[in-house]
Amino acid sequence: MQLIKDGAIIADEWTALADEDALPATGPVIVSLDRFKLEQNLLLARKDKLGIRLKSGEAPEQIKDFLDRLALVALEFPAYRNGRAFSYAYLLRERYGFKGELRAVGAVLRDQFNYLARVGFDAYEVRDNITPEIFKLSVSAFEHDYQPSADSKPAVLSLRQRRLAAQKAT
């Protein structure tokens, strides 16, 4: 596995801690929601960055009060047909205003990157055969989108309204 962030392959600075792993003294760690609940004070007291990993079924509402203390939220895709985390991502970005890294982990396919990027993911754990070129091809498959989402692209609706306004102006 490798990490693509903002379209490039980068070294992963984060340590994904299993629940039984000892908490390292320093360095950014990603913990499960269960562990976060158990060791919340300890984890928040550390100086280094903290990330939480949510399983499918663990709605982000449970961590919304801590989002300003989190630098990363990882959302699990247990199977590529399981699209629950698309809603989680959208809510984290659009409703709870999460600005940190939103990382897709688990079963995602290259033909899903465009959907993932649109709901607000900016980092992806991917198979080793995914290159930045492939990633770019996937996310740029469609220039415009019909509906607004968590990306910054204007939806077709807004583009049509702009065109209409321009027509009126001339």
Binding site: S56, Y80, G83, F86, E94, Y115
Partner: protein, 552 residues
């Protein structure tokens, strides 16, 4: 009808390119079948018994003559010269080669058509009333909002990997011809006391293994909020719908398990948030832009009274029969709706040859403003025909074997492809439908029976809508042998009901006689001008049970 602007066209073109790349990667072995399956299903490509199958989207069942001519060409060039119209108002090709599908899609794109989201766990083709724009009691043309929904749901980033498929239907008349109560979401267009148009939203209906009638979740959603409301329902479903069991993953199970009141509460809470955000508010300019495409054609001022039609009917019995069943009332005087039956005796319900497609397209061009509709009952329809042209239209249709006078009668059957084509099927359904149409082919007997919906499915997935047939037939497999179970009393309209199982299943050899017996029992019991479903609702299942199984 709606025409693509540059954004619509670009998106469809980009989809063709994307799918071409996916097919190339699949054939080169870079993409495993398992990975490819998700992509091909999002584009309507299935693997069936004999070959691949391609499902072409026909948004809300509306086509132009130009599009129908193109479909005819495509079936000749890439398939075996025919297609199958489905209960989602789509068209299926039974024999396309995977390697040809990208070229086929490019041809479709050239007439503003596609196969996007005709399969997969996403929002499917939104269906509607095939009489849209012509029905006398319609509150507004439902296709305007269908097109709004089509665009919103196309490649929706959040709702393309739902727990299961998701079907939406819209009706703008009180009499529901779109079966909205057996959809994941059904939308009934309504008017309030102040005369404003709004949308009543039903959720959690569906057929399949667990047939359920939908529950009302929104009483009067204003137009500007409709997308926000739909997004709220979909988000609740995507977050909380079950993913542990394929058979329990439709929204109907969520609504059923959580309860309608709790779903209403969750949707209302979500709707409040979505609405407050405001990004999904539907601008009136956009509605107006789309509405322009559905403006009524330029009707002539005509009278409903056309003596020459009566004269022709007096001379031509076939025409007289056809007028009795295949014509529906139109809102404009002097015009009528022509329903074209795709249920000739002994052939496949919903099948249409390339030559027939060309004939229908030509007739539509000459007599019906170049517009063709697909009905969810697997028929076609010309929405605006001058009454005075009816005999010419009938004659032209009849010459192409499209003049069967049986709309709404017992031989106007819905049947899924069944085991003759489908990989999921347990038993044949077309073959049964054919034998039933042969048994009941006497048109006068059909007219005597009156309106009766006879629907057949070849497996529990219920693509043949057997649960909502007045009489339903379900094919089952017992150790490699076909058996048929009968349900009675189903209905798909505003009185929607799920049929009751009448008793043990019949063999392939017995099923036609069993249906014959049911019809005879009904004719014996019927009072006045009751149709089958009225009689059934009055007397219940018992009289049918008694006689049907007494003979055994």
């Amino acid at each position: 009808m709606y025409r693509y602007d540059e954004f619509d066209q670009q998106l469809v073109n980009e989809r063709v390119a994307q799918f071409r790349d996916q097919v190339t990667r699949r054939l080169a072995g870079e993409l495993s079948e398992d990975e490819f399956k998700m992509s091909r299903l999002m584009n309507g490509v299935y693997l069936q018994l004999h070959s691949y199958m391609l499902r072409i989207a026909i948004p809300y069942g509306t086509l132009s003559s130009r599009q129908v001519h193109k479909l005819a060409d495509i079936t000749r060039k890439y398939d075996k010269g025919y297609g199958h119209f489905t209960t989602r108002q789509n068209l299926q090709l039974n024999w396309p080669a995977l390697k040809d599908i990208p070229d086929l899609l490019a041809e479709l794109a050239s007439v503003e058509m596609h196969c996007i989201q005709t399969s997969g766990n996403c929002i499917r083709n939104t269906t509607s009333d095939h009489h849209a724009g012509a029905a006398p009691d319609e509150l507004e043309d439902p296709r305007v909002i269908c097109e709004v929904i089509r665009q919103w749901s196309t490649f929706h980033p959040e709702f393309s990997f739902l727990p299961r498929k998701f079907k939406i239907a819209v009706s703008a008349t009180e009499h529901d011809r779109a079966a909205i109560r057996v959809h994941d979401i059904g939308i009934q267009i309504v008017k309030n006391a102040a005369g404003e148009i709004g949308y009543e939203v039903w959720a959690g209906g569906g057929l399949g293994r667990t047939p359920i009638i939908g529950k009302k979740v929104g009483d009067f959603v204003p137009r500007e909020d409709l997308l926000a409301f739909l997004e709220s329902v979909l988000r609740v479903y995507n977050m909380f719908g079950r993913r542990d069991n394929l058979y329990k993953s439709r929204i109907k199970i969520l609504v059923h398990e959580v309860g309608a009141d709790e779903i209403r509460r969750q949707v209302a809470a979500e709707f409040k948030e979505v609405k407050a955000r405001g990004t999904l508010q539907l601008p009136e300019e956009e509605v107006a832009r789309i509405r322009k495409y559905f403006a009524p054609p330029e009707f002539e001022t005509l009278s409903d009274d056309v003596p020459e039609i009566n004269a022709a009917a007096a001379k031509d019995k076939g025409f007289a029969d056809w007028l009795k069943s295949n014509i529906s009332a139109h809102k404009q005087p002097g015009y009528t709706i022509v329903n074209i039956s795709l249920k000739p005796v002994g052939l496949t319900p919903g099948d249409c040859s390339a030559d027939q497609m060309d004939v229908v397209a030509d007739i539509a061009e000459k007599y019906a403003f170049s517009e063709i509709r697909v009905a969810h009952e697997q028929n076609l329809c010309l929405a605006h025909v001058r009454r005075k042209d009816l005999y010419e239209v009938y004659t032209a249709l009849k010459a192409a074997d499209l003049g069967t006078p049986n709309i709404g009668l017992i031989t106007d059957q819905i049947a899924c492809p069944g085991l003759d084509y489908c990989n999921l099927a347990n038993a044949r359904s077309i073959a049964i439908a054919q034998r039933l149409s042969e048994r009941f082919q006497d048109i006068e007997f059909q007219q005597k029976i009156g309106r009766l919906h006879l629907n057949t499915s070849g497996c529990i997935n219920a693509c043949g809508h057997h649960h909502v047939g007045h009489i339903g037939i379900l094919g089952v497999d017992k150790k490699g042998v076909e058996y048929y179970q009968v349900t009675l009393g189903g209905a798909a309209d505003e009185t929607a009901a799920i049929g009751d199982i009448v008793g043990p299943a019949f063999t392939e050899g017995e099923i036609v006689d069993a249906i014959d017996t049911i019809v005879k029992i009904y004719l014996d019991l019927r009072q006045g001008d009751e149709i089958f479903i009225d009689t059934y609702r009055r007397v219940g299942v018992q009289p049918f049970k008694d006689k049907l199984y007494a003979a055994h």
